[in-house]
């Protein structure tokens, strides 16, 4: 990732993070204290919005100094964006918004003592904790797919080195090869993204390796935005993308890294490049803290995003059971704001209003052809339910789609400014 040495990390910790030197419990201090675990989309948003209220001390715990956004990483894969342009500095976020940033992994959470244990053994007390750890992979579900296999058959489902690896493989792939995408069953991070990836990989192949193909081995029989994607594939990439649903091939059950093969219940597919996206669950700290249920995800109160299993701990983002809300960056950001105002209300008595939960994703079919959805949600009977949903339609004019692709770029810069405080 970056060239930070241990000494520099130590220097940063000593300079910026007086708080870690004297671990203590928060009770009895002047300002209430919130600790946020995870500096991705949900965590950064919640930390930034809470800190801006200037009534609460906010500490953000995240091992990475920067965040590389998964959204737009399919554009990187196709050579349309640099990875640099998708990278945001968490230290600048912390400085500008007066957040204490601890560049470490949280290794344990003690809900009773209300403290977080950091990787160096220090303990950090909190009045409220927000956990936003994103996803972990259920590696056991695909035989032979472990961390070593992921270096040969990348998932690229967390942006960064995995995205670079997949891009390198795509670039060095020979013309005429098959780019296999193994897509997981629901629920998983960003339902339209495997198909956006297929579209943009085909865009790249069409220019540079026109005899090649994209093959999607799906663990589902239907997917998000299906009509829009299939319409676009026949318009932009005729004959280049093949989608095989689970009813024809069965689920992906194993991989063979040595031959770059994906084995489903029915068949074995040999790939030139294999992008294996494994089934997912909440980030492991959530599981270790008893925040997850049998599904592997975290149940929460949809008004406050407080865990229904551990009081005083809130969870936002991909890690939660979001009801009808998809696991998207937009959802994580929307949940984070609702969570922020609920935490502030609990700690400082500020007013509470019904949360406005919203998701709107831009999905690229080609560089100048994108579609959007817009979904509003409301809490109902303890769950998050869709209120209204609108989505682009098949048959819209090229002009409309070009405008959406242009808006997507504007959305990206406004959204990342909202999450990371406008610095990249």
């Amino acid at each position: 990732m970056t060239g930070w040495t241990r000494r520099q990390i130590g220097g940063l910790a000593a300079g910026a993070l007086v708080a870690t030197a004297a671990p203590h419990i928060a009770h009895g201090r002047g300002r209430p204290r919130v600790v946020v675990v995870g500096g991705g989309i949900g965590g950064a948003t919640v930390a930034r919005y809470l800190a801006d209220l200037e009534t609460i001390d906010v500490t953000l715990i995240e091992p990475n100094p920067t965040h590389v956004t998964c959204f737009f990483s399919n554009l990187y894969l196709a050579g349309l964006r640099s990875l640099d342009s998708l990278t945001f500095d968490l230290r600048s976020l912390a400085e500008r918004h007066r957040i204490t940033f601890i560049r470490m992994r949280a290794v344990a959470i003690d809900p009773t003592a209300r403290s977080v244990v950091l990787q160096d053994g220090a303990r950090l007390g909190f009045d409220r904790l927000v956990v936003a750890p994103g996803i972990a992979f259920k590696l056991g579900e695909i035989g032979g797919y472990d961390e070593a296999a992921a270096e040969i058959m990348p998932h690229a489902w967390v942006a960064g080195p995995q995205s670079e690896l997949l891009r390198r493989q795509l670039e060095s792939m020979e013309d005429g090869g098959v780019f296999v995408i193994a897509a997981p069953a629901n629920p998983f991070r960003c339902p339209p993204a495997p198909y956006e990836r297929a579209s943009l990989v085909a865009y790249y192949l069409k220019q540079f390796k026109p005899r090649s193909k994209v093959l999607i081995l799906d663990a589902k029989d239907r997917f998000s935005g299906q009509e829009l994607f299939q319409d676009a594939w026949s318009r932009h990439y005729p004959g280049m993308i093949e989608w095989l649903p689970v009813q024809f091939i069965g689920k992906t059950r194993a991989v063979d890294a040595a031959t770059r093969s994906v084995v489903t219940e029915g068949e074995t597919f040999k790939a030139a490049v294999a992008n294996v996206i494994p089934p997912q669950k909440a980030g492991s700290i959530a599981e270790r803290t008893g925040l997850t249920d049998a599904t592997g995800w975290c149940p929460v109160d949809p008004l406050t995003f407080e865990s229904t299993l551990q009081r005083g701990i809130h969870v936002v983002g991909d890690a939660i059971i979001g009801g009808d809300m998809p696991k998207s960056a937009f959802s994580a950001n929307s949940q984070a704001k609702a969570c922020c105002f609920a935490v502030a209300a609990a700690l400082t008595g500020s007013p509470r209003f019904p949360p406005h939960l919203f998701n709107s994703c831009y999905t690229f079919l080609a560089p100048d052809d994108a579609f959007t959805n817009a979904i509003t949600f409301a809490p109902k009977d303890g769950k998050i339910k869709t209120v209204k949903m609108f989505i682009s339609k098949v048959g819209e004019s090229a002009k409309v789609r070009r405008r959406l692709a242009h808006q997507a770029v504007g959305w990206y810069s406004a959204f990342t400014a909202d999450v990371f405080g406008g610095v990249s």
Partner: protein, 123 residues
């Protein structure tokens, strides 16, 4: 560090914000004195709803592709949102947002946005 003077100006701006319905110009110029400083957000209903707007509309108005909200007055915002509520075109995204806001909520967010606190809030 210039923490003290900056904090003083920010709290001045916040003091004015309370009366900003009457002195919107004063508020704006107070914020212009402190470029790059993040002014405290409030927790009023308008502010809480406006947080949703900021997921797509750059609060500094610098954004491209998605129209800025910084130049709009309260009545224009209400008028446009009513039009978005009535029709799925030109934007199904804004149609969804507009349908999700009751009249009181729309009034609160329009006032908050137009009060320039949004315009002056540097990300």
């Amino acid at each position: 560090m210039t923490a003290e003077p900056v904090a003083a100006i920010v709290s001045l701006a916040r003091g004015i914000a309370a009366e900003s319905r009457y002195f919107p110009g004063a508020l704006l110029s107070a914020f212009l004195l402190v470029p790059g400083v993040s002014a405290a957000a409030d927790t009023s209903q308008g502010a809480q709803i406006a947080a949703t707007c900021a997921s797509c509309h750059d609060p500094t108005g610098r954004g491209q592709g998605i129209p800025p909200l910084t130049t709009l007055d309260e009545q224009t915002i209400v008028k446009r949102m009513r039009a978005f509520r009535a029709s799925e075109s030109p934007s199904h995204v804004m149609h969804a947002v507009a349908l999700s806001l009751g009249d009181d909520e729309l009034a609160a967010v329009a006032r908050y946005l137009a009060d320039s606190a949004y315009a002056g809030r540097q990300p």
